[in-house]
């Protein structure tokens, strides 16, 4: 729309524009800009072409002529000239149509004129607005109805006045409403309403799905539970992590530890038995207190066991241990005795042997058996000690072994 401030300079600018466009048009060859009249009048898509077929000879001659004409420089008309010629034609025909008042002719002319009119209109850019305003004010949506209408720029350019705009707006709304009715479209809704509706639909769909799922799995449900677990207090663990202290760590070895003197099994047994007795007594007197004491004991025991200490409080086992120990003692005592006995026996035997030897010796001395003759060394005589490899056996096998002299 043209601003009212710039109204004075308007004609100059329009002249400038026109000049510019004309120059450009001059450069374009005519055939690309202006559509030539179609041969097949009033028909989309050439039906019944055969009826209108021209004889071959004519076509040939026509084409020859056309070729020659193309090359003729005088024939080349610029767009401006063509358009001016067309404009003259249009004016003539309009005058004719007005006088004749023939519908058919009008239609034909209208069509051809419409084609030309479009071209003419295109040339005058600034008149488009006014043209449209004219057509609108006439209340005529010619394009939409499909009927071409002659619209000539009869009035000079006029900027759109603001009051007109409101009018136009109303008209537009009316038109839209009319079309919607024709379409049988649903009632107009605002954007928010539409969004709300969609969200609702989505939710409904989800619910339906969920229900279906439950139906399907409800049949298989969990078997009867012995202990019903209350799940209502389930909360994510991360919410309630206590961060302030109370941290325990693994066991840390803290240097030397005092070793408790280990108690003898017998004494242990005694201890435990006395404890039991005490508990029994207490139970007779005061049951509650007794149970309390008992419980405490149990807990302490559990704690100690968990900590790794060895608690010996099973009477059976203790008795067994005692018995075992006694047995061992006895056994070891036995063995010691045996050993001592053995040692003694050995000693005795030795002494006996010694004494025997001495007695024999003295006896022999008295009888003089062992006296040796002078000069005689003993075993002189025939018995000579036979030396290995030298004396050999009586029957004489082998003989002295000497190194063989074989080469």
């Amino acid at each position: 729309m043209v601003k009212i401030d710039h109204l004075e300079s308007l004609p100059e600018r329009m002249a400038q524009h026109e000049k510019l466009f004309n120059e450009m048009l001059h450069l374009i060859p005519a055939k690309y800009y202006i559509a030539q009249k179609q041969e097949f009048n009033n028909s989309p898509y050439m039906h019944n072409k055969r009826k209108l077929k021209a004889p071959k000879q004519e076509i040939k001659e026509r084409s020859k002529k056309a070729r020659k004409a193309k090359l003729d420089p005088e024939n080349e008309k610029s767009i401006a000239e063509l358009q001016s010629e067309q404009a003259e034609q249009v004016a003539k025909e309009k005058a004719e149509s007005q006088t004749n008042n023939d519908d058919e002719e009008d239609e034909e002319d209208d069509e051809s004129q419409a084609v030309d009119d479009d071209d003419v209109d295109e040339d005058d850019n600034d008149d488009v607005a006014s043209n449209s305003s004219i057509s609108l004010t006439k209340g005529d949506f010619s394009g939409l109805d499909g009927k071409p209408e002659i619209v000539l720029p009869t009035e000079p350019a006029k900027p759109m006045v603001r009051s007109d705009i409101a009018d136009l707006h109303d008209r537009l709304q009316q038109r839209i409403a009319q079309m919607r009715q024709n379409r049988n479209a649903p009632k107009a809704k605002s954007r928010e309403e539409i969004l709300k509706q969609r969200a609702k639909k989505r939710e409904d769909r989800k619910k339906a799905q969920k229900q279906q799922k439950e139906k399907r799995s409800g049949g298989q449900g969990p078997a009867e539970e012995l202990v019903k677990v209350d799940n209502s207090t389930k909360r994510s663990a991360a919410d309630s992590v206590k961060m302030d202290g109370d941290l325990f760590f693994g066991k840390v070895a803290l240097g030397e530890q005092k070793k408790k003197g280990s108690i003898d099994a017998k004494q242990q047994l005694k201890k435990i038995e006395s404890q039991k007795e005490k508990l029994e007594q207490l139970r007779k007197e005061d049951k509650q207190k007794a149970s309390q004491v008992e419980e405490k004991e149990q807990w302490d025991r559990a704690l100690a066991l968990a900590s790794g200490e060895k608690i010996k409080d099973d009477t059976k086992l203790l008795k067994k241990t005692i018995k075992h120990k006694e047995q061992q003692k006895r056994k070891s005592a036995d063995e010691w005795r045996k050993r001592l006995d053995k040692v003694k026996m050995d000693e005795k035997a030795k002494i006996k042997k010694r004494e025997d030897n001495i007695r024999n010796h003295t006896k022999a001395k008295k009888t003089g058996e062992n006296r040796k003759k002078k000069g005689s060394k003993g075993n002189d005589g025939k018995k000579k000690k036979a030396r290995h490899g030298f004396e050999g056996a009586a029957f004489g096998y082998g003989g002295k072994v000497s190194k063989s002299k074989k080469k």
């Binding site: 078997a223 539970e225 012995l226 202990v227 677990v229 207090t233 389930k234 909360r235 663990a237 919410d239 309630s240 992590v241 206590k242 109370d246 941290l247 325990f248 760590f249 693994g250 066991k251 840390v252 070895a253 803290l254 419980e295 149990q298 807990w299 025991r301 559990a302 704690l303 066991l305 968990a306 900590s307 790794g308 060895k310 099973d314």
Partner: protein, 272 residues
């Protein structure tokens, strides 16, 4: 170990729990149907086994019994929820699993166990004694690669069990410098000068979380992993390793899966 028919998922859980307890556990123990508890007890004496962890399944729920072996107390838990180790690892972008981590036993952390009730003391004692004592004088940092966390949730009365691997990360420097220090030369084809690369603060990735002064420690010794020398400042990061359990204490018995019931969650059922 498992007791009875427990199903595939629980078997995997048992395996995961065994990995937590490494190295002081029988990782490849195979229980047969005919084995009874007393068989295990007899063997335990010879092999110096201190605790049993027994998983079992009933119609209603999965149970875990932790018992001290010779005649010790038995704690029975109901496993309310569990998540297998492979699922926990699948959640992470870059899971870090290395066998070296399992060469020493995990550190134990118990949170919020200072509660009313004797059963908590027993529980604490039991859990603490499942793991070897830490000798403060001679322990190496390289032996502390994992941590096992028990958290008692007061509101729900459940114990959460989580298993993490301890890692250290460089702090105080931007990601680009970190990359240069830790890995090899980066790709500088897009930059004119290395100063561009170093100063580029463009993407602040998730792992670039700013560590407060609490989580920054000074390494007392060399730590395994590249470039962790003594007296360096490092931020401690935990990466989830193993299964998640949510336990609910049901009863405490005085004997090995038997004996007098000291505490029962749902009232004093069989009190004499």
């Amino acid at each position: 170990m498992r007791s009875g028919v427990v199903g595939k998922s629980l078997t995997t859980l048992v395996r995961d729990v065994r990995r937590i307890m490494e190295p002081y556990t029988a990782t490849n123990l195979k229980e047969r149907r005919t084995n009874r508890l007393k068989d295990f007890v007899m063997v335990a004496g010879q092999l110096n086994i201190s605790h049993f962890l027994i998983f079992s399944r009933t119609e209603a729920n999965v149970n875990l019994r932790i018992a001290r072996v010779p005649r010790g107390p038995t704690l029975t838990f109901r496993v309310a929820e569990y998540a297998l180790a492979k699922d926990c690892l699948a959640l992470q972008k870059t899971p870090k699993t290395s066998a070296a981590k399992h060469e020493s036993s995990p550190l134990l952390v118990l949170n919020n166990f200072k509660q009313e009730g004797k059963q908590f003391r027993v529980m604490t004692a039991l859990l603490q004694n499942m793991f070897p004592t830490i000798d403060v004088q001679t322990i190496q940092l390289s032996q502390t690669r994992r941590v096992l966390l028990f958290n008692y949730n007061e509101d729900t009365g459940m114990i959460d069990v989580r298993h993490y691997a301890i890692g250290v990360k460089t702090t105080g420097v931007s990601k680009s410098i970190k990359r240069i220090i830790n890995t090899e030369v980066p790709d500088l084809s897009n930059y004119d000068d290395i100063s561009d690369y170093v100063l580029k603060e463009a993407i602040v990735s998730e792992s670039d979380v700013e560590d407060g002064p609490d989580s920054v420690v000074t390494l007392a010794q060399n730590y395994p992993g590249r470039n962790n020398r003594k007296n360096d400042q490092r931020a401690v990061r935990l990466q989830e390793l193993g299964p998640r359990l949510t336990l609910d204490l049901i009863k405490v018995e005085n004997g090995l899966c038997g004996g007098e019931v000291l505490y029962h969650k749902y009232g004093n059922v069989f009190k004499k």
